[in-house]
């Protein structure tokens, strides 16, 4: 079985995101980049299958600017067999639909049984590229997947919904968008890191993939930090019951939320 994981490099989740000078993008000077968290869950879901069955191959692909190569290097260090990097001027600032079309070209060449994407990238948080990739390919997709099992020629996919999981039988090929699951993404091992350093990451120029790079009109007009908070009333030092009464009184009379 061939698995292909699509991943995106985003600001690390511990970064305090600040708005840039243009007011429409974030300040990227000196920030740490990482594989988007849900894409790491997608990698883990794929690599788990490889752990149990060495005939399984796991490939990674990313579309992005030059720095995003590091994300693929990290995916190789986690245990991916190979990686493809789509970059060049054409790969920057792509809309969601164009990204899906570019990825579809790579998928068509790799011909995997399953494509896994994170449920959303934690930069634009759209959750669009996975389902759009399935649409461009003409494949079905299952979103918020947390588990994958082989069932003969078909697959069983666990989809997180409110109150539990729906288990769906899916044909191959299929696109999954992966939700956080109990299984935390593995850390790269030292031998994994050494091996990854020696691996070639073939590059493709987005502009030469014969994909339509246009997307429907959409433009961020402004970015703002969340409304400043603070200066809250802090209650302490007192009898627990009295503090509780005081808090309830404030929520009723001042905040008017009870």
């Amino acid at each position: 079985m061939k698995l292909l994981v699509c991943l995106k490099q985003v600001p690390d989740s511990t970064v305090r995101v600040k708005v840039g000078a243009d007011g429409r993008s974030i300040a990227t000077d000196g920030i740490a980049w990482a594989i988007s968290p849900y894409d790491e869950y997608a990698l883990e879901l794929a690599l788990e299958h490889k752990d149990g069955d060495p005939s399984v191959t796991v490939s990674a692909v990313s579309v992005g600017p030059a720095r995003a190569r590091d994300a693929l290097r990290a995916a190789l260090a986690m245990g991916c067999d190979d990686a493809t990097f789509v970059t060049g001027a054409g790969a920057e600032g792509l809309g969601g639909l164009a990204t899906a079309r570019v990825l579809a070209k790579v998928v068509a060449e790799a011909a995997p049984d399953v494509v896994l994407c994170g449920r959303q990238a934690s930069d634009d948080d759209q959750g669009f590229v996975g389902p759009a990739l399935a649409e461009v390919l003409g494949w079905p997709h299952v979103s918020t997947a947390t588990k994958l099992a082989v069932a003969g020629d078909a697959l069983e996919v666990w989809k997180e919904v409110e109150g539990g999981h729906e288990v769906w039988t899916a044909p191959r090929p299929v696109v999954l968008t992966v939700q956080k699951s109990e299984k935390e993404p593995r850390y790269p091992s030292l031998p994994g890191i050494m091996k990854a350093k020696r691996k070639e990451i073939p590059e493709k120029d987005a502009a030469t993939l014969a994909a339509d790079l246009s997307s429907p009109a959409m433009e961020v007009s402004s970015l703002e930090p969340p409304a400043a908070r603070g200066g809250g009333k802090i209650l302490r030092d007192g009898d627990t019951a009295a503090l509780a009464e005081e808090l309830v009184g404030l929520l009723r009379r001042e905040a008017k939320v009870l």
Binding site: S13, K180, M218, R236, L243
Partner: protein, 295 residues
């Protein structure tokens, strides 16, 4: 502007977010509420096929869907099929010439963006983004029969999460009570549940707690979990990691209960109580019940 709202039900009732969207759409233009019917379980392909067919003749400018698990799945695939613009998980939608300007969180809700989205477009909207007047009548809903013949996926079975304990869905709750490591163990969660029950609240949890397996993942608030913006958010025994704060700082009123006076959660709260959660919550629950009884 011609607006479609794709509604969703929770049991026989329309979901609150669907009603919020219908009310908002009626203010913005000519609104039609549609429901995909004939599927025992929602599945993207049959729903998208039916809606695409209907969109050919109906030609809406804007399709609004609740940013629920179903809505985000359907909205993305429908927009891709139609090759329309798509904006997910929005908290505001304002019409403009030939476009809508949506408000939405980016970078795991660490920043708020205004995005100009060209029409036609599909937009998914978070619950609690628009007010719903008391006693507002639910919209009339027209059925759109799904086309199950196009599905290549087959539903096999449902596996419920063991005792989620939540009586109010987290994403739509007007009040949320979230617990963290300060509860010291899953055996103390009944305290959080009792407080939530007294308030009619949804249940949330910090990542530390879901990672430890004390609570199911679906209750996690923050990055890699849910973003919520209720009227009242009560964080119990949660220190306030940046990833958690991103998912709840848009709440109207925030209450923090933590025994560490230096916890980051106190920097974003409106009311903080420096106290041990295990001792404070029972007293708080009792005070809430007493206040509600006298109301």
């Amino acid at each position: 502007m011609k607006i479609w709202i794709i509604v969703e039900r929770s049991g026989p009732e329309l979901r609150r977010v669907s009603r919020e969207l219908a009310a908002k759409a009626a203010e913005m233009g000519e609104a039609t509420a549609l429901e995909v019917t004939g599927l025992e379980r929602y599945s993207a392909l049959p729903a998208v096929a039916a809606l695409t067919e209907k969109a050919k003749s109906g030609a809406p400018d804007l399709v609004l869907v609740g940013a629920t698990p179903m809505g985000r799945d359907l909205g993305a695939r429908l927009a891709a099929r139609l090759e329309w613009a798509y904006a997910a998980d929005c908290t505001g939608v304002a019409p403009e010439a030939g476009a809508v300007v949506v408000t939405r969180g980016m970078y795991a809700d660490k920043v708020r963006a205004e995005v100009r989205v060209g029409l036609p477009a599909v937009v998914t909207v978070r619950a609690n983004a628009f007010a719903l007047a008391e006693g507002a009548q639910p919209p009339e809903v027209a059925p759109v029969p799904a086309d199950p013949s196009v599905d290549t996926l087959a539903f096999a079975r449902f596996e419920p999460t063991a005792s989620t304990g939540a009586k109010v869905p987290l994403a739509e709750a007007r009040v949320v009570v979230s617990g963290g490591r300060g509860l010291r163990g899953p055996e103390n969660w009944h305290l959080v549940e009792e407080l939530a029950d007294s308030l009619g609240a949804g249940l949330g949890a910090s990542r530390a707690v879901t990672d430890a397996g004390w609570r199911p993942n679906e209750e996690q608030v923050g990055q890699t979990g849910k973003s919520v913006a209720p009227d009242l958010y009560i964080a119990v025994g949660i220190s306030g990691a940046i990833q958690h704060l991103a998912g709840m700082t848009s709440s109207r009123t925030i209450v923090a209960i933590n025994r560490d006076p230096d916890a980051d959660i106190f920097k974003v709260c409106d009311y903080g109580v420096v106290a041990d959660a295990l001792q404070f919550i029972p007293a708080f629950t009792a005070a809430v019940k007493k206040a509600k009884a006298s109301a």
